[in-house]
């Protein structure tokens, strides 16, 4: 299964809690203790109030499709039997400047349109110890 041939997540010291939450099938974002702004990706300082303190809080898990691509070229040998594959860029409902990448599950590219409501689901990568990825499913298909 070529999913296991993908580049592994490489957390840094700020993002490690986010990746650990994803392993638990939880979607979280940072909330600034200074100004309450929600923040993603993980960083150790708020670029609005410059507070160095934050709290991890659950995200709603829903968002809307901002952009997407379909990759046909084999850029990595490990993905040769997956092309063509979709990658979405999703704007979270929790905030206009919170965006996350991910694949599309439960539907094909034909359903895609700007603003399509989606919901986060979690994919445990087969054969990989503790690697889980966030994916997105059209919201009316989520059961």
């Amino acid at each position: 299964m070529s999913l296991s041939e993908r580049p592994r997540p490489e957390p840094d010291r700020d993002s490690a809690p986010w990746w650990e939450a994803v392993r638990r099938h939880e979607l979280i974002v940072q909330r600034c203790d200074g100004c309450a702004a929600l923040r993603f990706p993980a960083r150790s300082v708020c670029n609005r109030c410059r507070s160095r303190n934050w709290t991890w809080v659950p995200a709603s898990g829903t968002g809307r499709v901002y952009s997407w691509i379909i990759t046909h070229q084999v850029f990595l040998k490990g993905l040769a039997d997956e092309v063509p594959f979709l990658v979405l860029l999703v704007r979270l409902d929790d905030g206009d400047d919170l965006l996350m990448y991910g694949g599309l599950v439960g539907a094909g590219a034909d359903v895609l349109r700007p603003g399509l409501p989606v919901e986060a689901v979690f994919t445990d990568v087969p054969g990989e110890d503790g690697t889980t990825l966030v994916q997105w499913k059209p919201r009316d298909l989520v059961s």
Partner: protein, 391 residues
């Protein structure tokens, strides 16, 4: 804020051949290009006191090239980390070094085996660390065509930009390359050829993508006064600007452009650049716009003020960017058809246009040129120059 306007000049340009496999080291490429640029300027290695480049772990730095060439004494050098987005920052900083008196003769170079050794995005050797990568690479999303495709789709979603409009850029630039003996692709293409080319990362096709190229290019920067005594009419560096700060994801929370893929750092830089040179978009006679992909040209037409936001597609398809248009763009064929040497070959072409030596592709009466770097996707920031003939 005129800064060092017109106080420095480009006095020489040099190339190696462009190919898919140079068969030589990046050191060798760098040396050949530097020597060619010096020869073009009528200077020798003994005149050089500074070298400048940029790289992402894929090339040979000044502190190797200088001793390899036997440069007598290096008084200033720049070995900037970064890809295309800093390509023109290197030249701007070199001009600043000359204007300040720190250096007298700087040779700027970029030497890469971008096809046979290091392929951008880490699909050849290991990727350069980029803040956003950990959230993208696990999905197989890591190569520049994918990243620019995501932006192109966002532009299509927001403004109705079409494949035919991107194709107009590819077709126009190939037409220019037909007239450029140095270009790697010189067979004309049609819009149908473009539309029939295979998908790389939808919405980008093969003919939206630049040519990964082995090669080098260099330019000599010295004072305007001294350049007048050298072989060619000087091309003055009228304005230089660089800067930035956001990658796409790291821009989250920093303002409206932070997570809008349809606006680049060039939109913030352009007013500084024009002010530095004392000109505006209407004064630009020829524009060499960073074209890793067709889309990057389209968005820069907007962000450098040649048309309104969202109008880049119709502007590109109107004929305005072709020979005889109001703004001839990428007159050498650009990275799409001449070859991708990461930015500096745009500067070299601008110099040829301003010297009036561009042959069949000469823009009549070209006096002011804009040359730009990657507008700020993937790695933060961008950079650009405005050059002026002094004939």
């Amino acid at each position: 804020m005129s800064g060092f306007r017109d106080r420095t000049a480009i006095a020489g340009v040099g190339y190696t051949p462009f190919s898919a496999n140079s068969g030589v080291s990046t050191l060798s490429l760098a040396v050949d290009a530097v020597l060619a640029a010096l020869d073009d300027a009528g200077l020798t290695v003994d005149d050089v006191d500074a070298l400048a480049t940029h790289r992402v772990g894929d090339s040979t730095p000044p502190w190797v090239v200088a001793p390899a060439l036997g440069v007598p004494e290096v008084t200033w050098y720049l070995d900037q980390f970064g890809g295309g987005s800093v390509s023109h920052a290197v030249l701007g900083q070199a001009a600043m070094a000359v204007a300040s008196g720190v250096a007298r003769t700087v040779v700027c170079y970029r030497a890469i085996n971008a096809r046979s050794e290091f392929r951008m995005g880490g699909t050849g050797r290991g990727p350069a660390p980029v803040f956003d990568a950990q959230y993208q690479a696990p999905y197989g999303h890591l190569a520049p065509p994918q990243q620019f495709a995501m932006a192109a789709r966002a532009h299509m979603n927001a403004y109705g930009t079409t494949a035919e409009q991107l194709g107009a850029i590819a077709v126009t630039q190939r037409g220019n390359a037909v007239k450029n003996p140095r270009a790697r692709k010189r067979d004309p293409i049609t819009l149908d050829d473009y539309l029939a080319s295979r998908w790389i990362a939808e919405p980008l096709r093969l003919l939206d993508c630049c040519l990964e190229t082995d090669g080098a290019c260099a330019v000599v920067i010295t004072s305007a006064d001294r350049a007048h005594d050298l072989r060619h009419d000087p091309v003055l560096i009228s304005g230089a600007a660089w800067g930035g700060g956001d990658t796409f994801l790291s821009g989250a929370g920093s303002g409206p452009a932070g997570t809008d893929l349809t606006v680049t750092e060039a939109a913030r830089l352009a007013p500084r650049l024009y002010a530095a040179a004392g000109v505006g978009p209407d004064d630009i006679d020829v524009a060499e716009l960073y074209d890793c992909f067709t889309y990057s040209v389209l968005v820069q037409l907007e962000d450098y003020g040649f048309c309104a936001k969202g109008e880049g597609g119709p502007f590109a398809a109107s004929g305005a960017i072709g020979p005889g248009g109001t703004l001839p763009v990428n007159t050498h064929g650009g990275f799409l058809s001449e070859g991708y040497v990461h930015g500096i070959n745009h500067v070299a072409e601008a110099v040829a246009q301003l010297r009036g030596t561009a042959g069949d592709r000469q823009v009549a009466g070209a006096c002011v040129a804009l040359s730009t770097a990657q507008p700020g996707y993937v790695l933060a920031g961008t950079s650009a120059l405005i050059l002026r003939s002094d004939r």
